[in-house]
C-alpha cells in the first residue's frame, strides 16, 4: 500500500503512541484537588508548556480543544461575538476564498444567523492572499470589521500565506487575525508570537498525534466568547473535562514534529520534487497547481508545504483517477466531496481561477513522515496507464453527450 494522503491524516509518531498509551491507564481529572487530580493536572500543564514552547506561544495562550474544526469555530465565532460586543459596528467577517470549510462555513453561519456580513477575500492564481488585498478591504471597512481569518498553509494546494504581513495589516486597523495552521504546524516553521496572529488553530492528527485533540492558540489580550459553556477549564473560553492522554500525546507529537521540521522539509521537498517531475515526465500535459516548486521563501520558510503535490490531469475526472489509483493500491485524494460522497470541483481551485474541468481532473498527493522513495516510484509507475484509462472514460462520456 502506498499512502500519499498525509494531509488527510498522518500515522501517529511512536513517541505519541507511547505517551498516549501510558497516560490512558491512569485515572485523574485535572480539575480534581486530590492526588490523582494533581498528577493529571501536572501532566496536562507540562504538556501545555511543551506545546507552547514548540510553537512560540505562552502556556496560557494554549486553549486545548478537540482539533482544527473546534479551534476554527471557536476563533471565528468567538472573536466575532467578542468584537461585536465591544463595538456594535464591527459585523464584517473577512475570510479568504480558500479557507477550510471549518472557517468558511462558520463564517457563513454567522452571516446567516448572527447578523454578520461575510467578506471573502480573493486569492491570486497560486492561492495566496496578498497583504495588499487585505489592506484594500480594511482601508474601506476597517471600522466595521470584527476579524480576519486567513489560513497559514492551504490543505489542498499547499500554498503558504504571508501571515506576518497579513497580521500587520490587520493590526493597523485594529482588527484581530486568526489563522488556521492545521497543515502548517509540524510541516514548516511556526512561531505564534513572531507571526503576530491573535489566534491560531492546530490539530494533533496532522502532525503525528491522535485524532480528537488540538489547540487554539489565543493571545493573552484577545477576548473570545466561548462556544462551549460549563466548567470553564480553559481560560473560561472553552469548557469540558481535559483529555489528559490526548494532550500528553499531542505534546509529544508537536515537540517531535516541530524539532524535525528543518530536516523533514528538506527531505520531503526532495521526494515531492522528484514525484512532481516524474509525474509530469509520464504525463507531459499535467500541470502543478499552486506555488511553483522554486518559489522564493515566505516568512523565512517554504512557500509551499514540502509534502504537497497537487496536479491537474487534463481530460480526466479526479474521481476516476482516484478509483483507478486505489485499485493500484495508491492512496491519494481529489479534494472535496459532499457528505454523501459526491465529488465536487474544489472551491480552492475555482477561487484560484482554475476552470471547472481542470478542477475536476485534479489529484492531491501529500507526503509525510513515513513517506519513502518507494512511494514515489509506485505512484509514478501507476500514473501513466491510470491517466490513459481515465481519459478514455471521459472521452467516451463526451462522445455520447455530443451525439
Amino acid at each position: 500500500m502506498t499512502y500519499l494522503d498525509h494531509a488527510a491524516t498522518t500515522p501517529m509518531l511512536p513517541v505519541a503512541v507511547a505517551a498516549y498509551t501510558t497516560a490512558l491507564g491512569r485515572v485523574g481529572n485535572p480539575s480534581s484537588l486530590h492526588t490523582a487530580g494533581r498528577r493529571a493536572r501536572r501532566d496536562v500543564e507540562e504538556a501545555r508548556e511543551t506545546i507552547a514552547d514548540a510553537v512560540g506561544a505562552l502556556p496560557t495562550e494554549v486553549v486545548l480543544a478537540t482539533g482544527g474544526t473546534e479551534g476554527d469555530n471557536l476563533a471565528v465565532k468567538g472573536l466575532y461575538w467578542a468584537r461585536r460586543a465591544q463595538d456594535a459596528r464591527r459585523t464584517r467577517v473577512v475570510v479568504s476564498a480558500v479557507e477550510h470549510h471549518a472557517v468558511l462555513d462558520a463564517a457563513e453561519w454567522l452571516a446567516d444567523h448572527e447578523g454578520a456580513t461575510l467578506v471573502v477575500l480573493p486569492v491570486d492564481a497560486v492561492g495566496r492572499v496578498t497583504p495588499e488585498v487585505l489592506r484594500a478591504e480594511l482601508a474601506a471597512h476597517g471600522d466595521e470589521t470584527a476579524l480576519v481569518s486567513v489560513m497559514w498553509a492551504n490543505n489542498e494546494v499547499g500554498t503558504v500565506n504571508d501571515v506576518r504581513g497579513l497580521a500587520e495589516v490587520a493590526h493597523e486597523f485594529g482588527v484581530p487575525l486568526h489563522t488556521d495552521a492545521v497543515q502548517a504546524v509540524g510541516s514548516l516553521p511556526v512561531d505564534f508570537a513572531a507571526s503576530g496572529a491573535d489566534a491560531l488553530s492546530l490539530t494533533g492528527h496532522k502532525l503525528g498525534g491522535p485524532v480528537g485533540v488540538g489547540a487554539l492558540l489565543l493571545r493573552r489580550d484577545a477576548t473570545c466568547v466561548p462556544l462551549l459553556h460549563g466548567g470553564g477549564q480553559e481560560r473560561d473560553v472553552r469548557s469540558g473535562t481535559l483529555d489528559v492522554a490526548g494532550t500528553v500525546a499531542l505534546a509529544a507529537a508537536v515537540e517531535a514534529a516541530v524539532a524535525a521540521v528543518p530536516r523533514r522539509t528538506v527531505e520531503l521537498a526532495a521526494l515531492r520534487d522528484d514525484l512532481v517531475a516524474r509525474l509530469i515526465e509520464v504525463v507531459p500535459d499535467a500541470t502543478l497547481n499552486g506555488v511553483p516548486l522554486d518559489a522564493p521563501a515566505v516568512n523565512g520558510g517554504p512557500a509551499r508545504l514540502a509534502g504537497n503535490a497537487h496536479l491537474s490531469f487534463p481530460g480526466c475526472e479526479g474521481d476516476s483517477l482516484l478509483m483507478l489509483l486505489d485499485a493500484h493500491e495508491i492512496e491519494c485524494s481529489t479534494g472535496s466531496a459532499c457528505t454523501a460522497g459526491v465529488a465536487r470541483p474544489s472551491h480552492v481551485l475555482l477561487a484560484m481561477g482554475v476552470d471547472e474541468a481542470a478542477a475536476r481532473g485534479s489529484l492531491r498527493f501529500s507526503l509525510g513522515h513515513s513517506s519513502t522513495a518507494a512511494d514515489v516510484d509506485a505512484a509514478v509507475a501507476a500514473i501513466g496507464p491510470v491517466v490513459e484509462r481515465a481519459r478514455g472514460a471521459l472521452a467516451r462520456a463526451g462522445e455520447r453527450v455530443g451525439s
Partner: protein, 364 residues
C-alpha cells in the same frame, strides 16, 4: 486470496456493483464477490441535492441511502465510490418523464433509468475504466445472453429491463434472479448487512412523496383543454393540462355532472395537440391491439403467435401475436387489456424469455 477462476470455473471479472443502499443491490454485490469476481461498489448520486434526507419513503438518492450503501460495501470489504450522475439523470430520465406527461403519454422512468443510466452512462464509464460488467439487484435471469423472468414472480423486473440491447445484456449481471425476496433478506441478515430489514422502495425515486401530479404541476405550465364524451363528442368540462391524466384514470376528472347512465367514467384517450381528453365507460378501455415505436428485439423479425405481452411493471399480461418490423411492432391481444396508454412499454415474452420491448405508440 482469490483464485484465478471463479466458483463456476470461469475467469473472474471486474464487476461494478451498483449499490443503491437497499438490500437487493447489497446482496447482489456480495454474491458477485462470492462468485470470485473482483467487485467494486458504486452508489449513483441521482439527486441534484444529495444531502436531502428523506422521511418515510425509500428511494435511491438520499444521503442516508448513500451511507447505507457505503456501510454494506465496508462489511463486504470492497472498494466503494459515489458517482455523480445527477445531470445525466435529469436529462435522460426526469426531463423526458415530464415531457412525456406533457404530451399526454404515460412514461416509465425506471425503465428509462435502466436503459439510459445504469446500463448506458454507468456501464459505458465502467467499461472505459476497465470493468467487464455492471451487477445490479434486479430480479431477472440471464442465460445464454437471453433475459428471462426471475424465479420470484412477485419481484420479477424483466419488464423494466426488456429495453436492454444484446450488447448491454452481455455486460450485465443479475445475481438475484434465481432467488425469492425472502431468501435475499435472510441472506442479508446472515451476512450482517444492516439493510436486511430496510423497506422496499415502491415510488418513483425522484418523487418521494408519491405525488406525481404535484411534481408535474410544478414543471408543466397549465395548458387548458376540454374533457369530451368519447361516444357523443359532447364537451363535459375543462381541464388545466393533459399532464393531469392517464389512460384508465377514474378519479380527479373534475366532472360535476355524472354520466347519464350513472356509471363511472374513465380517461380513454388523450389528444396532445388539441389537448382534448376523451372519457367514457370502463368497457371502452379494453384494448385488443397496439402498435409501437421501433423495438429492441432479440430474434428474427416476422410474425410470432403464441407470445405473451406485458404492458406495465406489475400485471397487465395477455396472450398475443406480434408482427415484428424494424420500425415497430403490431400486437394483437388474445384477451383485452385495460389501462394501456401510449408511452408505456410493451414487453414481449416467449414463455419466460424476453423477446423484445417497445414503447407503445397507439392502441385500439
Amino acid at each position: 486470496m482469490r483464485g484465478s477462476t471463479t466458483r463456476s470455473g470461469s475467469a473472474p471479472l471486474r464487476v461494478l456493483a451498483a449499490m443503491s443502499g437497499g438490500v437487493d443491490s447489497a446482496v447482489a454485490a456480495a454474491r458477485a464477490q462470492d462468485a470470485g469476481h473482483d467487485v467494486v461498489g458504486v452508489h449513483l448520486a441521482l439527486s441534484a441535492k444529495p444531502a436531502t434526507m428523506r422521511e418515510g419513503a425509500r428511494g435511491c438518492c438520499s444521503m442516508e441511502d448513500s451511507r447505507d450503501a457505503r456501510r454494506c460495501a465496508d462489511v463486504l470489504d470492497i472498494p466503494f465510490y459515489v458517482w455523480d450522475m445527477a445531470d445525466r439523470f435529469r436529462e435522460d430520465v426526469i426531463e423526458p418523464f415530464v415531457a412525456e406527461y406533457a404530451a399526454g403519454r404515460t412514461p416509465n422512468p425506471c425503465l428509462r433509468c435502466n436503459e439510459k443510466i445504469k446500463f448506458s452512462a454507468v456501464l459505458d464509464r465502467a467499461r472505459a475504466l476497465g470493468f467487464d460488467a455492471v451487477a445490479t439487484g434486479h430480479y431477472a435471469r440471464l442465460s445464454d445472453g437471453a433475459l428471462r423472468r426471475a424465479a420470484d414472480p412477485d419481484k420479477d423486473q424483466s419488464y423494466v429491463l426488456g429495453v436492454l440491447t444484446a450488447d448491454q445484456l452481455a455486460h450485465a449481471m443479475f445475481p438475484l434472479g434465481d432467488s425469492l425476496k425472502s431468501e435475499v433478506r435472510a441472506e442479508a441478515a446472515a451476512r450482517g448487512l444492516v439493510v436486511a430489514e430496510k423497506p422496499d422502495s415502491h415510488d418513483i425515486c425522484f418523487i418521494p412523496s408519491g405525488d406525481t401530479r404535484g411534481f408535474l404541476a410544478d414543471r408543466v405550465p397549465d395548458a387548458p383543454g376540454e374533457l369530451v364524451d368519447a361516444v357523443s363528442g359532447a364537451v363535459l368540462g375543462g381541464h388545466g393540462g393533459v399532464q393531469n391524466f392517464t389512460v384508465g384514470q377514474r378519479h380527479g376528472l373534475g366532472l360535476s355532472r355524472p354520466a347519464p347512465d350513472g356509471r363511472p367514467r374513465y380517461v380513454l384517450g388523450i389528444e396532445p395537440v388539441s389537448r382534448q381528453v376523451q372519457v367514457g365507460p370502463a368497457e371502452a378501455l379494453d384494448v385488443t391491439a397496439l402498435t409501437t415505436e421501433p423495438p429492441v428485439w432479440h430474434g428474427p423479425t416476422g410474425r410470432r403467435d403464441d407470445v405473451t405481452v406485458q404492458v406495465r411493471a406489475h400485471g397487465g399480461l395477455a396472450p398475443a401475436s406480434v408482427e415484428v418490423h424494424d420500425d415497430g411492432l403490431a400486437v394483437t391481444l388474445g384477451s383485452p387489456l385495460r389501462g394501456v396508454a401510449p408511452g408505456q412499454a410493451v414487453v414481449v415474452y416467449d414463455g419466460d424469455r424476453v423477446l423484445g420491448s417497445a414503447t407503445i405508440a397507439a392502441t385500439s
